[in-house]
């Protein structure tokens, strides 16, 4: 009897606790939310993953106060990402770092991937959510693999599976993970739910999740980063991808998160915690209070269907200064180019920019069947303009970010070279037939059709002059890009600080280098003097910074670009200017050629360089000799400047044209390039902008309606 009473009491207390927790979750009033104070936050537990490793003093070069350009990739997936593992990738983070340091590693299809020249920094950024879980499902010796949801993954290891023919099955598994159909929570009364609630670890409430395996995958990624970090010579960052999207429209909101030291949270903060990027920033803010600094870097805005750079918040509220500051505190840089296309601008957004139609990828990331991604809200140049507009309406500027490139490779190894390209998803696009650059062999047409139907893509081939080609979207991808930081030395601290002050530029995989300065007295500098750079730092500001108004003075700019010694010579340097006028806030943009190759001059009417005559011979991809420049350098003054307008200026450096990867693929196998693709591209670099900020206007902007909180001025 006594026991029964006790038992009943226990059950009663349990039920009441559950009840109160439900009220807590549903109700945010502080009186009711008793338990919120009892919660701990597992995502804020900080661990030092450092490996004890001393520095050989003699091998660390002295810092350079004028800064060096360091080249790297901040977006690399390995076997720990579900969509790499299911596509045959078995490269570990260690393999990835070895590749970056110059060693060769193996592609899932068996060939070697190797860099022409090692990189200076690298970050393995596997998907945070379900990190490490998929291998655990596939490995039948683990407990978690014995659950029924893990069963489709057992098939992955079926003997005959490491082939391109398995693409359909693999794609299906991929989508069931993305579509989260394997996410199944425990029933409401289950104690695991209580634990998940009290440690704020939602994933712990899922049957398909094993926290221990998850943590150990993350610890291995951090361990590998710390082991390969070599201050002065090679830098790594502990990192992961926050793979989130909007609820509706499948708007891609993916971001990579990197840590500034050997310390990191005990687990990545993922889309299972929240799909709202603003919550990610809150977590980053809290980590920063604990001494761990991070930045998150949005990627593929081009595939976001206009959601990456919206004029409102995630939940549709008005952007205010608090939002803008929070976003900029946590997201100083954006990935403008990668394998899945370039997000500078779109021909529909910049109809007067002849170079806007460059590596456009116009579908939403991961959509099936491929679904158009609308340009507005999806490209960085427009975002810069919208940022100025938001500032004009006193909402702060949430789009004052710098630029980097990276690859998003899923093989551990970035493909930067058009003439040696393996795309990025392993088995799916590791050979020319499957990525659509050469015709499909007869027996492969039906197979591809069948598998792509399984992948919800009924029209997977296209008939062209030379035969039937795969038309599965990979033709819009390309060999891009690199992140470049101007830093004093090749250390975590120094490069991370460069990211934070946005002193960065992006390239499409080429190793162009570019300096960019603005100021009011730069014409007093001798641009042929050895002290050019230190003088420019002293008298001006550089990429990523603000130039504040100085009465009616017109800004002057110094641009200096150097070619990639293994790439094509430079064709021209441009300054891209965007602004809104003081009266209407109307956005405008203009592209100025500022330096031309071969000593030619810019036409002052059209702002364009004359044709330098560089051409590509499509039959063998050779380029015209002795045309183009090894470096371009100039002092430029804005010819149409109004001191009361808000401006941004960024540099675009263009190489002479060279063959696109699809052309290389074709000619190497004896075909002509596909007639519906660009045969050549112009490799390029973009710097972070310099923003010109006029004095605060005393005109108040009063929007109609008045329900939104805009006027929290200063």
């Amino acid at each position: 009897m006594k026991y029964i009473k006790g038992l009943l009491l226990l059950v009663g207390v349990y039920i009441i606790t559950l009840g109160l927790i439900y009220i807590d979750i549903e109700d945010s009033r502080p009186i009711v939310s008793l338990f919120k104070n009892l919660q701990s936050d597992s995502s804020l537990e900080v661990v030092d993953f450092s490996v004890d490793k001393e520095q050989i003093k003699d091998t660390k070069p002295a810092p350079n106060k004028d800064r060096n350009a360091y080249y790297g990739d901040l977006h690399v997936h390995t076997k720990y990402s579900f969509d790499a593992y299911v596509f045959g990738v078995t490269a570990s983070p260690d393999d990835a770092y070895r590749y970056a340091k110059g060693e060769g590693i193996e592609h899932p299809l068996g060939y070697e991937m190797k860099l022409k020249e090692p990189l200076d920094f690298y970050s393995v950024t596997d998907h945070g959510f379900y990190m490490g879980m998929i291998q655990a499902y596939a490995d039948t010796s683990t407990d978690i693999s014995q659950n029924d949801f893990a069963e489709p993954f057992h098939n992955l290891n079926r003997l005959d599976n490491l082939t391109v023919e398995s693409a359909g099955e693999r794609s299906n598994i991929f989508s069931s993970v993305l579509g989260a159909t394997i996410i199944r929570p425990y029933p409401n009364w289950h104690p695991k739910l209580l634990k998940a609630y009290f440690t704020r670890n939602t994933q712990d409430a899922l049957q398909s999740f094993d926290y221990k395996i998850h943590k150990s995958a993350w610890a291995d990624i951090a361990r590998s980063a710390n082991e390969h970090n070599d201050p002065g010579n090679f830098t790594t960052f502990i990192g992961y991808e926050f793979t989130t999207s909007t609820d509706i429209e499948g708007g891609n909101l993916h971001r990579n998160v990197i840590f500034n030291s050997s310390k990191a949270s005990i687990r990545p903060w993922t889309r299972i915690d929240s799909i709202n990027p603003e919550d990610l920033w809150t977590w980053q803010d809290k980590l920063r209070e604990k001494g761990v600094d991070t930045i998150s870097m949005p990627h593929n805005p081009n595939g976001s269907n206009g959601q990456m750079f919206e004029m409102e918040t995630f939940k549709g509220n008005a952007i205010d200064r608090e939002y803008s500051e929070k976003r900029m505190r946590n997201e100083p840089i954006v990935e403008i180019t990668q394998v899945k296309g370039t997000s500078d601008t779109h021909p529909l957004l910049s109809p007067d920019d002849e170079w806007a139609d460059f590596e456009i990828m116009d579908v939403r990331v991961g959509s099936r069947p491929p679904t158009y991604s609308k340009p507005s809200g999806s490209y960085v140049r427009e975002a810069y303009l919208n940022g100025l507009t938001l500032e004009f309406t006193r909402q702060g500027n949430p789009y004052k970010f710098g630029l980097i490139g990276s690859t998003d490779t899923h093989t551990g190894a970035g493909a930067f070279d058009e003439s040696n390209y393996w795309s990025k998803v392993g088995l799916l696009d590791g050979d020319p037939e499957n990525r659509g650059s050469v015709p499909l062999a007869e027996e492969n047409v039906e197979r591809l059709d069948e598998y792509m139907r399984a992948f919800n893509q009924p029209n997977s081939t296209i008939e062209l002059e030379q035969g039937t080609y795969a038309n599965t979207g990979f033709t819009q991808w390309g060999a891009s890009g690199l992140a470049v930081a101007w830093a004093e030395e090749n250390t975590r601290d120094s490069i991370f600080k460069a990211f934070k002050r946005k002193e960065t530029f992006a390239t499409t995989g080429t190793r162009i280098a570019v300096r960019f300065f603005a100021g009011y007295d730069l014409s007093s500098i001798d641009i042929n003097s050895d002290s050019l750079v230190s003088d420019a730092y002293e008298k001006g500001v550089t990429m990523g910074a603000d130039l504040m108004q100085d009465e009616n003075k017109t800004p002057e700019f110094i641009v200096w670009a150097q070619r990639d010694k293994n790439g094509a010579p430079l064709q021209r340097v441009q300054i891209i200017k965007g602004w809104i006028d003081t009266n209407s806030g109307r956005p405008k943009e203009n592209v100025y050629d500022v330096a031309c190759s071969d000593g030619m001059n810019v036409d002052p009417i059209t702002n364009r360089c004359p044709d330098n005559g560089a051409r590509v011979n499509i039959s063998d991809c050779s380029i015209t000799n002795n045309v183009g420049s090894s470096e371009l350098k100039t002092l430029w003054k804005d010819p149409d400047f109004v001191s009361s307008n808000k401006y941004f200026y960024y540099v675009r450096v263009l190489e002479n044209p060279t063959c696109r990867w699809s052309t290389w693929d074709a000619i190497k196998r004896g075909y002509k390039p596909r007639e519906d693709l660009h045969e050549t591209i112009q490799e390029r670099a973009w710097t972070s902008p310099i923003w010109y900020t006029p004095y605060e206007s005393d005109v108040e902007v009063i929007p109609l309606g008045g329900t939104i909180r805009l006027r929290n001025i200063d």
Partner: protein, 264 residues
Amino acid sequence: MKYKISIFFTIGLVLYLIDTGLNSYNDKEIYISDQEIISLINAWKSQVGRNPNDDEIARIINNLVEEEILYREALLLGLDAEDKIIKRRLAQKISFLKQESIANNFSNEEIKKYFTNNKDKYYIDTKYTFTHYFFSYENNSKDRSEDSYQGLTNKLPVNSDVFFLGKNFVDMSKQDIENDFGNNFSSHFDNIELNNWIAPIESAFGHHIIFVSKRVDGYYPDISSVLKQVEVDLLQSKRDKAIKKFIDEIKINYKVFINPELKI
């Protein structure tokens, strides 16, 4: 007593025979578990967004059956035997198994041995400290650099260009030099004369008259200065070599035959 035992024995034997007769493995029988079907139907559902109808379920099961039949027939024909992909996949699986569980406390002897065997990995390269006059391709680099070089010997002032990567280079290995200058520039450093201006050398960007002020010959560092790094590398190499060790251990049980007459 004996009689009774033999009755039980006989009954047992009969039961055994019946049992084995009924359960004998038949490679023409295919068993499909409920779970397998359910998980396939679930996958279908997640793809299409509704439950499959009876026809569709039949098709799903039929596909599964056909796949299994083809798989078994392929095994019968021995098609698995010479398939590189299958081999590689299996080999990868076992190497993952072997790579787990490696202890990371090493004895001093072990560390020393690794260091001695991998000395070259820790070799500190020869380093050069130099300055230069740069003449850009954009500005008639060849003639100007040659003229300037002649002028230098008569102590005439040099009118050179500014180099993107700077004026002075400190403690550069040949690899560092190559990365910065390209065009096989570093090959000129092998027997380069110190403290003297060197005749123009061509880089990927123009011509350079260089002056090497310091050269520190390469050397093998003392183990104490790289100890931690050695430990980390040893652990990594152990992880890499776990599978190799496994192979070495069992290799002795295998005999390998290769046709000595084979001409390639």
